[in-house]
Symmetry: C2
Subunit: 110 residues, 2 copies
DNA sequence: CAAACATATGAATAACTGTTCATATGTTTA
DNA sequence: TAAACATATGAACAGTTATTCATATGTTTG
């Protein structure tokens, strides 16, 4: 939410140095990617939507831990969810995630 | 260094889920971007090479703190440096940095 | 409605991280 | 070579964070 407010005041292109608030928000965003559990969750969601339990099993991470991390991913607007009965399905919010992770992989595997 | 070893064993494209080691390395990379001081340093270096003292002044961050952060950026192969007398000039290692930060800004300002 | 199930959440703890301070290393110049 | 300067680095401390555990919320089914 706050990101939007800041972002509107700043330039999006890389022609000039982004303003301070934007750089702060940017760091906040990358912090979200800076945890292997969260990155793994995101990559699992590349395949399509998935429920919490399934994610938990695939990663061998407790349901609680996954849920906590999903909350953070939600907060960064990286994932969205829909409820179907008692099951909640999570999926990627948009294509930025794929792009950002793609950029990172490019750097590591250069 | 280790990243290279892992990366070679994994797929770079996004067709399949990247392997565990790669996702771990990826999180490590994003962790580096996940600090506003470091992001600011990187953005300052968009303008070209710059010495430690100058960076320190521009950010109003102590010389020591900047130096510590530059070490981390160096470790992630995001910046390179050259020594000219007593002054050390830092600059971006390659264009990945610009790309990664560009992706991030795109997301925040959507 | 009660029991079972799926998910979310608050508190606590252990591990990690960024800054500061003091000092070391390396380079120039007087 | 001594002093001054630029940078690097180790230790310590404060603040942050990810997981666990216990439990709450919300949903279905018997």
């Amino acid at each position: 939410m706050a990101e939007h407010i800041h972002a509107d005041h700043c330039n999006t292109s890389m022609d000039h140095i982004p303003c301070d608030e934007m750089l702060y928000d940017l760091a906040e965003l990358y912090k979200v990617f800076g945890d292997s559990t969260r990155v793994k969750i995101l990559c699992i969601l590349f395949e399509g939507e998935m429920c919490v339990q399934h994610i938990s099993e695939m990663l061998s991470v407790s349901q609680s831990a996954v849920s906590h991390q999903l909350r953070i991913l939600k907060g960064a607007r990286l994932v969205k969810y829909r409820r179907d009965g008692k099951i909640v399905y999570y999926s990627l919010a948009d294509d930025h995630v794929r792009k950002i992770i793609g950029c990172g992989i490019e750097h590591i595997s250069e």
